[in-house]
């Protein structure tokens, strides 16, 4: 649907646009649901203003956006509390308006005025907006819009850090398992961004919330949902095996409980899951500093493990390295199983 015919009569300058958006969004409040016509009219006004904002920020196909106007609009919007207003009104906006908003959001956040990200700074002062966006994953209609907006926010360390440490972060463990695949996988990609975009922040968080986090994560790894198991396992190796998380990793591979999870996943009906599990399992085994409990488990199960490992094969180009590692791991398990000290 094209709104291009609205263009001529619209507000022209960035302050006018910001004000028009603010007024039209506020006008939504004064209309009650009973006034269907009036509400529709108010909504139309919002949509028109969003189109104006979009054209100012991203051009209209013929005219390139004016850099000065773009930063001025970003400034006005953060000054006039428009950011807070659009976020809170998001659930009642229409499809087109939400889409325009998502587009503008990514541009606005990136604007630097006097070497400051004015919109990001606004959000830093109004962090509850992030919680609001996270909770929106529960609303199927707007979940994907919010997901996009959240991922834009997560690009900025300060905002990512807030989400990571906020109470709403645990909601992701629920959202990634929502039955609606679109929403669940969008939530997962946000979850993944949070855990991988800023490695040192994540390392700090995991150090402080080790037990709490891995308790929750265990539920994902042992989920009955195939997609959850596969994604969470892959993500685990993505962040656990990153350099800044090496202390977390060392702690993780000492725990019998997590070894057992990996052993269960090695036996998963999915070959992909088996292979991903191997890449974490191997670290437990290769650890030269294995605790006695880990050694006992490996020794007790060595026959089954060797059988499993022997039947496991990599694919394509990964083959050679996989086989190499597998040999190493098999040898280590055999060595452990022969240890006299473990026999009681």
């Amino acid at each position: 649907m094209s709104f291009s015919f609205f263009k001529p009569s619209r507000p022209k300058t960035p302050p006018e646009v910001a004000k028009a958006i603010k007024d039209s969004l506020n006008a939504l409040d004064t209309k009650t649901v009973a006034e269907v016509k009036a509400l529709e009219k108010a909504m139309e006004e919002v949509e028109k203003n969003f189109v104006t904002m979009r054209c100012m920020l991203s051009g209209d196909g013929e005219v390139e956006p004016n850099v000065e106007q773009v930063s001025q609009l970003a400034l006005e919007i953060s000054k006039e509390d428009v950011i807070s207003l659009v976020v809170h009104k998001l659930p009642i906006l229409g499809w087109e308006a939400r889409k325009d908003l998502v587009l503008c959001w990514s541009i606005l956040l990136k604007q630097q005025v006097d070497s400051k990200y004015c919109c990001v700074e606004y959000i830093e002062k109004n962090l509850e907006l992030l919680d609001f966006l996270v909770v929106c994953y529960d609303n199927k209609e707007i979940a994907l819009n919010c997901g996009n907006m959240l991922r834009e926010c997560i690009k900025f360390p300060s905002l990512a850090q807030y989400i990571l440490n906020s109470a709403s972060f645990v909601l992701f463990f629920k959202f990634v398992e929502l039955p609606n695949f679109d929403v669940a996988s969008d939530a997962f990609s946000t979850f993944k961004d949070i855990l991988t975009k800023h490695a040192s922040l994540v390392a700090e968080y995991l150090t402080g919330h080790y037990d709490e986090f891995f308790d929750l994560y265990e539920k994902l790894l042992t989920s009955s949902n195939y997609v959850t198991r596969r994604q969470s396992l892959k993500l685990l190796s993505d962040f656990l095996l990153e350099a800044p998380n090496v202390q977390i990793m060392k702690r993780y591979i000492l725990e019998v409980r997590y070894l057992k999870i990996m052993m269960t996943l090695l036996r998963d009906s999915s070959k992909n899951i088996q292979i991903s599990a191997f890449h974490i399992f191997k670290v437990f085994v290769a650890n030269p500093n294995k605790p006695r409990e880990i050694k006992i488990i490996l020794a007790k199960n060595h026959e089954k493990l060797l059988e499993l490992l022997n039947s496991l094969s990599g694919k394509g180009a990964e083959d050679e390295q996989f086989e190499e590692e597998k040999e190493l791991i098999i040898k280590e398990i055999e060595k452990v199983s022969r240890l006299q000290s473990l026999k009681s």
Partner: protein
């Protein structure tokens, strides 16, 4: 809302497999199957379900969690097929879509008469497809898998571009198709880039569109040829945008309606299910879960080259009609001459099979020789008839000139196609190389990582020992 007036605006399709009663298989790929099904809680509404085996995908799982399924719900256009919903059932992803009972353009082509589909119908279908493409591009989006099997028709002749969000791009290695200047996400282009004409990624869709057009018909009109040729220009910068292409005379003059399609194309065709059974083979869809798969090549190998060759045959027949005086000669002219007999064999054998670029080049070379041969024969005939009346001679000269022009055009077309093939070939090699390089890089990193852990952990040991 006004823009959600599509089929079932507020219907919530259930998110569990038990709510659907599958009735027939209508398509199959390497790791996916397509069924018709009744949605039991919603008055047994007929839907199509694409069931994808997620475990057969070797590709990095990250791509699956890409924004592919999501994007479809962020798009709304009458010519784009939006899935109702998707959910997982065990190792499979179920994508529930409106059932398009007219089937895919590919299945229509293969089950329609050997003379192909009339150009008027093709024009309507291509125009609708192009409208969808133009919308996608205006939204900063690439389709990346335009092909006849992704163009679907419903009972009423409405055309929808499908496999958007559930397509092979699902599994394709995004790095190969990475958009240099994309910032919004991998598949969304930054709005400031969309209109800047600095990025030619969109032109790849135009290319595929051209190939799909070629693939869809056997007889080309001149405007059609011109339209396709513009899509297949070597330099992407010279290819038209979707919007520009819509203004091409071929589409400008196309005023057909979906009713026309329903009446003239769909009526009397086998049902989608029957077509699938008749095909008795896997639909061209293999790229779905083949991480090595190269879509460009699959589009190319789909059928187009063989149909071009068949096309030539048909034009020669037309030539026969124009010149009824020499039916024997002209028929002979179509048959490859003896010297090149061997080389020309594949031209017939290649139909419908996968053909590699090299054989194609050979075939086209052979065809060119055959055209030269025809030209010689025409000359000979004209010489023989030198003693005829002046009127006759005039007529012949005109005819000769016409033929010469036609031959010239054919030759140009052939050259162009050879170029196309060579390019494709190069692309294939390049993609393969990029893929291998990536693979190597990944392996190297893995190894590095492992080494690091082992050294890190052994450090700990020695620390502890001290």
């Amino acid at each position: 809302m006004a823009y959600e007036q599509e089929d079932h605006p507020k219907l919530q399709f259930p998110l569990d497999s038990n709510s659907y009663n599958t009735t027939a298989e209508i398509g199959a790929g390497v790791c996916s199957k397509v069924y018709t099904a009744q949605c039991l809680p919603i008055n047994s509404t007929v839907v199509a379900i694409k069931s994808i085996d997620l475990d057969q995908s070797n590709a990095d799982f990250r791509n699956l969690v890409g924004r592919e399924t999501n994007t479809s719900s962020l798009l709304s256009h009458p010519n784009i097929l939006n899935p109702h919903c998707s959910f997982t059932a065990g190792n499979r992803l179920w994508v529930v879509m409106p059932f398009m009972s007219g089937g895919s353009l590919e299945s229509i082509i293969s089950s329609s008469s050997p003379n192909g589909i009339q150009e008027k119908c093709i024009a309507i279908i291509l125009k609708e497809t192009l409208t969808a493409l133009s919308y996608l591009h205006s939204q900063g989006h690439l389709h990346r898998d335009i092909k006849a099997s992704n163009i679907l028709l419903d009972d009423n002749g409405r055309v929808k571009l499908a496999d958007f969000g559930v397509s092979s791009s699902f599994y394709a290695s995004s790095s190969v198709y990475r958009l240099g200047s994309s910032t919004f996400s991998q598949y969304w282009m930054a709005p400031e880039v969309i209109h800047s004409h600095k990025d030619y990624s969109f032109k790849a869709d135009i290319w595929s569109f051209g190939i799909t057009a070629l693939d869809s018909t056997k007889k080309f009109s001149e405007t059609f040829q011109d339209m396709v040729a513009s899509c297949l220009r070597k330099d992407p910068a010279n290819r038209p945008t979707a919007d520009e292409l819509l203004k091409h005379p071929f589409f400008e003059s196309c005023n057909g309606t979906s009713e026309f399609l329903a009446e003239n194309l769909l009526r009397g065709l086998l049902s989608v299910e029957e077509r699938f059974r008749a095909a008795g083979k896997i639909l061209e869809e293999g790229v779905d879960c083949d991480p090595n798969g190269d879509r460009a090549s699959s589009v190319l190998l789909n059928r187009p080259m063989s149909s071009i060759i068949e096309g030539k045959g048909n034009e020669d027949e037309e030539f026969e009609v124009h010149d009824p005086a020499f039916p024997v000669e002209s028929t002979e002219a179509v048959i490859p001459c003896d010297d090149d007999g061997e080389e020309q064999q594949p031209a017939a054998g290649g139909r419908g099979n996968e053909v590699n670029a090299e054989t194609m080049v050979n075939e086209l070379m052979a065809l060119m020789t055959s055209l030269d041969d025809q030209k010689e024969k025409v000359k000979k005939i004209i010489n023989q008839l030198g003693s005829e009346t002046i009127d006759r001679e005039d007529e012949l000269e005109k005819e000769n000139a016409r033929l010469r022009l036609e031959l010239e055009r054919e030759r140009e077309q052939n050259l162009k196609l050879i170029q196309v093939i060579n390019e494709e070939d190069q692309l294939l090699h390049q993609n393969e190389r990029v893929r291998l390089e990536l693979e190597n890089e990944k392996l190297r990193l893995e190894l590095e990582k492992l080494k690091m852990h082992i050294s890190a952990t052994s450090n700990t040991t020695s620390d502890d020992n001290n």
